[in-house]
Symmetry: D2
Subunit: 306 residues, 4 copies
Amino acid sequence: MDIGMIGLGRMGGNMAERLRRGGHNVVGYDRDPQISDVAGLEELVERLPAPRAVWVMVPAGDPTRQTIHRLGELLEPGDVVVDGGNSHYVDDQKHGEELAAKGIGFVDCGVSGGVWGLENGYALMVGGDEEHVKRLMPIFETLKPEGEYGFVHAGKVGAGHFVKMVHNGIEYGMMQAFGEGYELIAASGLVTNVPETFRSWKEGTVIRSWLLDLMVRAMDDDPELSGIRGYAQDSGEGRWTVQAAVDHAVPLPVITAALYARFASRQDDSPAMRVVAALRNQFGGHAVESAKGADSAGADVEAPSV
Amino acid sequence: MDIGMIGLGRMGGNMAERLRRGGHNVVGYDRDPQISDVAGLEELVERLPAPRAVWVMVPAGDPTRQTIHRLGELLEPGDVVVDGGNSHYVDDQKHGEELAAKGIGFVDCGVSGGVWGLENGYALMVGGDEEHVKRLMPIFETLKPEGEYGFVHAGKVGAGHFVKMVHNGIEYGMMQAFGEGYELIAASGLVTNVPETFRSWKEGTVIRSWLLDLMVRAMDDDPELSGIRGYAQDSGEGRWTVQAAVDHAVPLPVITAALYARFASRQDDSPAMRVVAALRNQFGGHAVESAKGADSAGADVEAPSV
Amino acid sequence: MDIGMIGLGRMGGNMAERLRRGGHNVVGYDRDPQISDVAGLEELVERLPAPRAVWVMVPAGDPTRQTIHRLGELLEPGDVVVDGGNSHYVDDQKHGEELAAKGIGFVDCGVSGGVWGLENGYALMVGGDEEHVKRLMPIFETLKPEGEYGFVHAGKVGAGHFVKMVHNGIEYGMMQAFGEGYELIAASGLVTNVPETFRSWKEGTVIRSWLLDLMVRAMDDDPELSGIRGYAQDSGEGRWTVQAAVDHAVPLPVITAALYARFASRQDDSPAMRVVAALRNQFGGHAVESAKGADSAGADVEAPSV
Amino acid sequence: MDIGMIGLGRMGGNMAERLRRGGHNVVGYDRDPQISDVAGLEELVERLPAPRAVWVMVPAGDPTRQTIHRLGELLEPGDVVVDGGNSHYVDDQKHGEELAAKGIGFVDCGVSGGVWGLENGYALMVGGDEEHVKRLMPIFETLKPEGEYGFVHAGKVGAGHFVKMVHNGIEYGMMQAFGEGYELIAASGLVTNVPETFRSWKEGTVIRSWLLDLMVRAMDDDPELSGIRGYAQDSGEGRWTVQAAVDHAVPLPVITAALYARFASRQDDSPAMRVVAALRNQFGGHAVESAKGADSAGADVEAPSV
């Protein structure tokens, strides 16, 4: 079918390519005129037959908001917009209402797959009205992996990005669990063959998983992970997961701990721990020390042995 | 090769069966005479040709300790004992020393696989001297899954059970991550198709894993998991993982949170939260309330709106 | 000085009383005509001499927003509004801008003290411009405790409620720490004199504090806290603290754990733990069990001892 | 009364001094002959009238074990030993049994007070038989603070050190709560007067406490705590608290998080986070980066805005 693709970066470009390979007619727009098929959104809308389908694949936040607002001005009743970016589900709900007021459909679609997606397909998590999702099914069928999984119509508008957000939250927890296990094994001094231990877990264990496979790949390149700093960014989705949990009064200790471990990994020195150190110095009665190696406080008992 | 198997319960019995199917000669002993090949450990030892190999598959703790101690009395220099149970790695180290003093080899082997192991093979994590592990390789080859993974010689005595223990700790974290994600999705009210959401994740996502497959199976039986109480036991291995981490000063926030969630799941009423409730009542100045629904305290401001 | 007090509930009423005792002229308004000095906000504004000071003490959220918006319509340039409720600091920032556009000053004031405040004074945490804070100092001086502490001008608009919010977050962590300590002592079976243990800590220890005093008071009434359910609500401020931390990428493990413990205390059955239980059943190969007492899964080894 | 004091370091020396000021006859022994009253334990025992009381104030672990074992050889039935160090409660139970077999009493005494104790008294938490505790009351009365608090006979042998251990666990949680609150306030950019904010909390707030007082003292010396590294040791007691909780299946999320924050504060680079970073690199499809500033992975969507 015909579809417009707005945003032809790494993700959007590959998705357009997979759609073309699947026989669809994709009109692509990008800010970069070198890779764009059209000069602007107006031309993109003109080039698509009504009722139109337009896939938005631009960064979450203002870029997506502005794009969808502009599409609301350009499109006609009966057209449908898909937001395939990483938008917050509350944004989706606003966009859905804004477009619905003009008779334009809106579907949010969480996409997983990264660089592997072009060849293997993208996992798609979709929110929206049955009617709009149905219309877009030929597109989803082409983008998704070939097997029987990898696509879900999770619920109404917002549900697609919501479950993608939670997927990422689960991912945080799983990654941290592997990290903690690795650290304990490495610290034990008992295990002389760490990479082979992880590799062996690829079969017959409860924790076998794609993340384990990736961990083994990483250790193939760098068995002691010595070339990597213990430093991790977080995407907005981990934060949103925790904030949604707090909104819903859902305890999320594991996912939150994983998020906080990333925050802490980016600190050279923890202000909270400066307070703890200062307090130990106060009640231990020692002079304050500034050197990291020189712990000076808190021994309640200091006595010779006999 | 010839091997003695002590303990023919669900795990030991299946392992003996897999070994026999693989062409080994297994002499089995169990307290239950109906399933035992021999009358006692003495006969088991007699029936095995020297140098002997004996696999111990009895509950961790005293049963294992007593069995290994008794084998130390019955076996001869050059024999080798495998502890395939869930022993603590520190116990292994003691057993290894005790047997080494008599010239008897000791190998600890963490086993994963549960009821699936008879057909699919068992993941094996082994600790011990190269010499003893090598001697037992025909046994390990038969027990392990058919592919290239599922076996590791992780390090010296204790390393096998140590990495199995950590495997279980990682498993705790992963399971809790899935649980938390499920709870948040269910609480959101946005997602009308929860089981299909999890099913869709089986392909193309970062979190695809055997645990996800099992979760989908569980939802096939009971889509809302309504027949299951939110109540989980813990095996000793989760606790040992946390205690080992504390011994080694390794922060383990995710695995520990998962363990604590299990502890909390078994409480009808949290004593800690009784304190929190009592304190809120004290500084809120309210009478103490006993009914769950009647929250009475802590509103710092209570004022009419205009 | 002259001041209007909007909202004469438990907090506002007591604060008006403390101000009157301190010699101030308070014009009070409440929705309840029985306790209101005036018929409405119009009359309240009329009865105050310019430049006016008006203290808003109504519930956070819409009631406060509506009240402040209405004051913006009624007041004149040079007047000043104090929000003494539990507003979110981001609301303060909006209110400050809205009023500033009309030449009206705005000060946010976090208030601590509960029912003890009328006699002992209220701890006040204030945000706003120096000029407005200075004008209100006679009011703050009367409301605060008599000693040298209990008042701070923490920063610009929003800072007052921000630090009050963090105060409450710290309070959550401290309360949970006491609760956990209590639970462990009670579980140990070693300690026959639990209330006296806590009472003894009131002097000479590192943890002596007002919360400890309150805990001892609670145990004086109910030594085993047996009349209290382990169930705790949370005010919005604990949630806001966590959400602000996530916004600022600040790891807050203790305060968040305390908040989550409250969330969990309000659940009869944890959906997350249903998943964990279901997974254990799956890989343990057991039938799903519904009874709480009947743990059925997860024992990897089940074998007789010798 | 007469008492022997073994170990005259900072704690033991000050306690001996406080006892002498209180009219007791103290015979002190220390490895350092310059400060010791006697040449060895034999002479100490000889110099005390029967039935003897001996206070052991040496480091926990082997020094205490060896001292108590030696006292078991030197003392007579009817004598009593106090362990005032930081021993683990399980050690106490062993020592109590060992001495009881010889008719010698044993009392364990957790001591809080640090350098402030000589003048202000020490908080004492005692475990043991009523008979032995009663005999030692003149000593406890002199050591404890002057007010009505600061002493408890918590239960049988082990209970004293157990509750002191839990006291320290609570202390960890409270300190971390203050640290987290500080960090969030500092990160907010809203609060221009951080030390005065904490100082103001000394009256009228829920979190007023000795630790808050100490924090204000620390900020008096160093308002931004800029001279202190965010690095904190942990005494054994925090670890023991967590391990006891795991033994008793008591969830301790706050105290454990506080302990883990200390562990993490001592790491230059987190091995767990190296795994997380490696995994993000793998599924993000990026080359592995070693520089801290160069985050390279995980952006699922990379697209131009329109």
